[in-house]
Amino acid sequence: MTTPSPYRPEFEAALRLLAKVSEAMHQRGFQRPILVGGAAAEFWSVSALTTGDFDICTIRQSELEEEMQRCGFVRPSGPGALVKGWVHPDLKLAFEVVAEVPMDGNVDPAHILLIEPIGETTLFRVICVEDLIADRMGQYASGSAPDRIDQARLLLALHADLDLAYLDRRIREETLGDHGIESITD
């Protein structure tokens, strides 16, 4: 008997689609895009935090968007002329290229992970949970998102096997030295 997945089915479907698009990029000789932001938070929190909005980094935006269109993504219609992202009408979710590289290039490439979605053999890339926590802390420290420290604390609690030295360094970098790991362990 198969154990039910702890992820939302629609989130799993979205990651299979991301892996499919990523594989197409890989086959063209380009690096796979990298998942960041709220969808990375849903991945690492195992759907405790949910999103239908997938932020992606790539230096090959036009080629990625070609592959997304081949997989059924369309530009939203209507008055949203400012929209930079793409929606998938069947899956009812959106992908958006938000930057060329994650977190202004401060992520250690060795900490970007290749993941095989459930029910798929192709792979997608995602920032590691340490960088995701540092990202949440950077937003918290900026004053723009005071709730993000709660996400950081819970993500830390959910992962007992983190590289704590890397995590501490990245939190200090993202918060310009205002915070370290002690801010979420006290």
Partner: protein
């Protein structure tokens, strides 16, 4: 992914942690707000 899911689900159960809070959504760009509305218009949730 299956490994991450199983490990974190077990950790959640072990700790009895509450669900993570949703983003407050106060820091979104106009483009992002429009994209999220497009998802809603399709009947989706973000």
């Amino acid at each position: 992914m299956a490994d991450v899911g199983a490990r974190v689900a077990a950790r959640k159960a072990e700790l009895g942690l509450p669900e993570l809070p949703r983003n407050a959504g106060t820091n979104r760009t106009p483009s992002k707000r429009a994209l999220l509305k497009a998802i809603e218009d399709l009947g989706g949730e973000w």
